[in-house]
Point group: C2
């Protein structure tokens, strides 16, 4: 039931890009340093997100990445599905990555029925959540934790 590091890095990078959505572009190195992600690895990931239409890039001296769409139009579901594949815990209940399983009869499979519920719960959440939500949360969490300290200074 795990998200790979690759997937986590993708989300972290998109969060940074979302928070800097006003900027023309952000360099890989900037994101990599800010988020403790190996640069060459992040390169691959961002490139991959580009092929998903989630980010776009500009080459050359003033180059970098930025979101290809408004943050509120990029759902976590889209991102995770592109990087990881199925959201469903077993592929026989996946909508877009369906694969037959080895059970004797899929239609009568109780595991399948239960896993469908789990899938739905996950999908419902991550389809609603967007990069914009991530950004909002990041700002809130920043306030809560940094705010009081700032006042004390």
């Amino acid at each position: 039931m795990k998200l790979s590091l690759r997937g986590e890095y993708a989300l972290r990078a998109l969060l940074v890009l979302g928070l800097n959505h006003t900027q023309p572009v952000l360099r890989i190195q900037t994101i990599s340093q800010q988020q403790n992600i190996p640069k060459r690895f992040l390169e691959q990931i961002l490139n991959d997100l580009k092929s998903a239409g989630v980010v776009e890039s500009k080459r050359g001296v003033a180059g970098g990445y930025r979101l290809a769409r408004p943050p509120e139009d990029i759902s976590l579901a889209t991102v995770i599905r592109h990087i990881e594949g199925a959201l469903a815990p077993v592929s026989c209940v996946s909508e877009r990555f369906y694969e037959k399983c080895s059970c004797p009869d899929e239609a009568k499979c109780a595991i399948r029925s239960v896993m469908k519920q789990v899938r739905d719960a996950i999908v419902k959440l991550v389809e609603k959540l967007t990069v914009a939500d991530l950004c909002e949360r990041a700002r809130k969490l920043q306030e809560i934790h940094a705010g009081p300290v700032d006042f004390m200074i």
Copy 2:
């Protein structure tokens, strides 16, 4: 976000054991044949479930496995956690398998905050669901799909 085959096999085996809870014991081979699970692989899995206190075994000629507790006392969460480890999609939000992640500040991490929600949704479901629920569903699905056909014969 995937369950391993091992985990799926475990649930399938427990379903069979649950449906035959009245029997003294069931042989590995019986379960293996009924569910298309490689026998030697299932051996390992059942043995593992035994160490989790979920099933108990009897050796020798009339030996086999049975549930160690009533089906309604065995939650899917217990089983999956024992076979797979964390239910949480990232280990920094796992209650029992916590591991620090590489993000700059866990307390301010928006990904973490979101993943906590996903974790909670999953945990809420699989903690409530038990082997008894699996059995009930299996019986219902059997009725729905086999019933009409039986009438037609």
